[in-house]
Symmetry: D2
Subunit: 291 residues, 4 copies
């Protein structure tokens, strides 16, 4: 039980193209006003509400609010998570479409769940994030904090990649593959799962290194502790190789470019249904057998 | 036992960048001259030999010779196979590098094997080829005959694809995946194997339809008879989707584009070692257990 | 369109423990009597109906009737198929429980579908069967005709098996594994699928050889033409190794025992819904994506 | 650098049937005697040496020595590890046959490595072990401490199992499968890998729950923290279901029996080559690509 004060103001981020988003926002903001809670919104949401004065960029929003309500799919929440690099803000994900791994609260439950959260009745699951730095020679050309995964991927036309993987400086192997995924436990149920990776419980302190269509059939996914530094060097010359972050941001790579992946200092405090059973999501989304 | 006459002239195609290619060619052409056999070459090989008069384009070569000797890797042989669309010419593949699935003759065995072949002592394995037509609206924008596979693949930055697959007009499923491979038995040990497909014996009359990193974990590879027509329609809008043929030719696709895949009327008569045991290659390349 | 005469008499086989089986049988037999069609039953069904005079053993039933109606699950139909070794009898599978791959007709559709079938409006899919012979030294110790698969499997306590596999006499490999499955296309969606095998369309003329938990990660499933003879020899000494047929019949094996698997001369004419789309079953049972 | 005193006496356990074991033991004991180090042996080793007075049972050996030298394969070392439940003793594994994951020291390096170890120059990797308790009703019918894995497995003839899995009391799913493996990181490269599990680095604090041939294709391996209690209940009636421990000990199970798996309080201090690169083993045993 916490005081309401802590969760005021609230930030709202919406997948604004979603059907019914405007109507839902009206309900949500009315509820907040009734409780005397201030709110701020990302620009698209502010526009949808017709309340320009409430508009803040994501980084500013992340720095100003005590609770973030994200209305959308897992993709919307991933974008929000990337901006939460300086201070952890509890995030409540509400799915506007089908059930998400991150946006577990159903639309119909929003009012009840939000009321509980504002009353301080909620549970938080700390999701680790990864920090990736892209190095070209001695220069760092990009850095990001990600909730799901960082991927080196070739385009359709590029030849098979050669990737040199090292863990804490120790040589692991040269992977000949379409690409390679470094995923957090949260990301283990995203792209890594499609590529043959295991499901890693959200509470684990681990990375999963999953090759994509590896040439060597023995190149199986590798689970490593989150205390290590993973370095992936693109050995092969190829015009169309990219580093993609959470499947949303892309960066062209050149031969010799290196990715350094570590655990981020930040975590994402994800508000989860109470009582919490993570396996409900697996049973619903993956149709694992119920009783 | 066949008459030598049948195998005169011989065509020679080389992966000209390979180390020692020139020296090898000299040996090979000397051997042919000693036996009074004429030869023609692809342009790069003719240049390497310094015999410009022997130079022919691949299609002309394919139309003129009785035997094709391919010096290189599986990739070199795939390129040659694509030009053999009008008449079947026996192909002898000699690997200049590591053991290939198609170029099974080792460099050191070239003289002995070639002498046997010219004497008519050889075995041929008929490899089926697939014919693919790419349709945009009512127009055919590309057509090709392939020994390995045709692939729809997204670039690193594109969103997951939606592919509508039909077999002889019957709806199979919408695949949500990075891509989809339609492979011949020959192609089953190439890209399809890395994507999780089975090994299909070269003699089979079948296609293997293998999704690449499918979102639905139940979307397993599908083996279908070679008598069917497979239609794959790209449902999703995405700027960077390609159709790739034998991993060597790329064609950008637009939403609505359709691939029609059928068995080609042509086969590739691949000269195989005698006595023939296909599984030798699996044991050597995949290190399947020997006795 | 065929004459009714052809489908008289009808054989009925029931999974007699299924709930509601007796009531269903009453409806079914009433329908047959109204149309003047005779029927015979397997002993359990006859007992359930209280019509002992109609009772015939499965082999006698298989030899006497023109149509077999099987009420139950895929398991019930597999047992029936094994007795149809001398003459092909069209089989209509009606599932009493959940949707089956073989028993595609829903209970609620039985009367309509059966009426159509008796009127000659039906489509038949010819399912190939495999014939297995188990050899100990020079003696044949068992032989069977199977619709799904033959499996060599170790018990929980036995050490990993060593299996020598040959195709048409050619050595394939020594498999070190928990076991090995040789499946027909029909069986490809049964045990073989769980062990990592592909889905092979029912119309294919092929076997799928799928190792179970192989020690070598490169030992991938192998699809071979139905014209071959597959020989599997149990090399390892182990007290608890079995040959299981369609998962229903078990036979203890000793070191040195050999399985010979060939295509059976018999096929199973399976009555399928009209219009026929095999992929409906994949979409329903495996939840492949619909539109 | 430690004092020699700490590693005196030394225990020796041998896979006594291995070729050349006796000669090797003579060398080893001569080396120890030259350094004034006492040794004790398991009964089979003492017999092989003809030194009955040195014979001790494994538990007594484990309780008496400061260093254990295990000559054999991974299987030999697993047996030793199960007896080290009260106090951790550093173990040096020397492979008498092919390279092992646990017995990394080659026979030819024994003298040099052992001299270094006795001089105090060695590195130890702490391998977590799991503790399993088998419960029937309110009674504990077995308990064991294992380095690799505990498995519920059906015999060849048993029907598919139904296994209810709970983690810290939370219902995960009902698995319909041939069996289920709970593996430590050390065990992740053993049976679990053959069943489709990931490779988990030895330093991880985690279990891997890997189903064997699951009916639901979405039942993928699950990596969970070592802080949890995993409970697996055998739901299905079947005459031939076993719990196997490290693949070496078997225990028949009945419907309703429950396995409780936790991290053991004990660890195995495994002596590893110096400088240590775990991935050398993966590259050698799984032939992952080197440079």
């Amino acid at each position: 039980m916490r005081l309401n004060l802590e969760l005021n103001p609230v930030g709202i981020v919406t997948k604004s193209r979603a059907a019914g988003a405007r109507e839902l926002l009206r309900k949500l903001t009315a509820l907040l006003r009734r409780r005397g809670i201030h709110y701020l919104c990302d620009p698209a949401t502010a526009k949808l509400l017709g309340e320009r004065a409430k508009s803040r960029t994501l980084p500013v929003l992340a720095g100003s609010v005590k609770l973030l309500v994200v209305l959308g799919g897992d993709g919307t929440l991933l974008g929000v998570a990337r901006s939460l690099t300086h201070r952890p803000v509890p995030v409540l994900g509400v799915n506007l479409g089908k059930l998400g791994f991150l946006t577990e609260t159903a639309l119909g439950d929003l009012e009840e769940v939000l009321a509980n959260v504002l009353d301080g009745h909620f549970e938080v699951e700390e999701r680790m994030m990864l920090q990736v730095q892209v190095l070209r020679g001695r220069k760092s050309i990009a850095t990001s904090t990600l909730l799901n995964d960082v991927v080196i991927n070739k385009s359709a036309l590029a030849r098979i990649l050669e990737l040199d993987v090292r863990i804490d400086g120790q040589f692991v192997a040269i992977y000949h593959a379409d690409g390679l995924i470094v995923a957090t436990p949260t990301g283990s149920t995203a792209y890594s799962l499609s590529a043959g990776g295991p499901i890693v419980l959200p509470g684990m302190k681990a990375f999963c290194i999953t090759p994509i269509c590896p040439h060597a059939l023995t190149n199986r996914p590798l689970v490593v502790p989150d205390s290590v530094t993973i370095q992936v060097t693109l050995e092969s010359e190829s015009p169309d190789v990219y580093c993609t972050m959470d499947g949303q941001i892309g960066l062209p790579l050149k031969a010799g470019d290196r990715l350094k992946v570590r655990r981020s200092g930040t975590i994402l405090p994800l508000i989860v249904p109470h009582p919490r059973n993570y396996f409900d999501v697996l049973r619903k989304k993956l149709r694992w057998g119920a009783r």
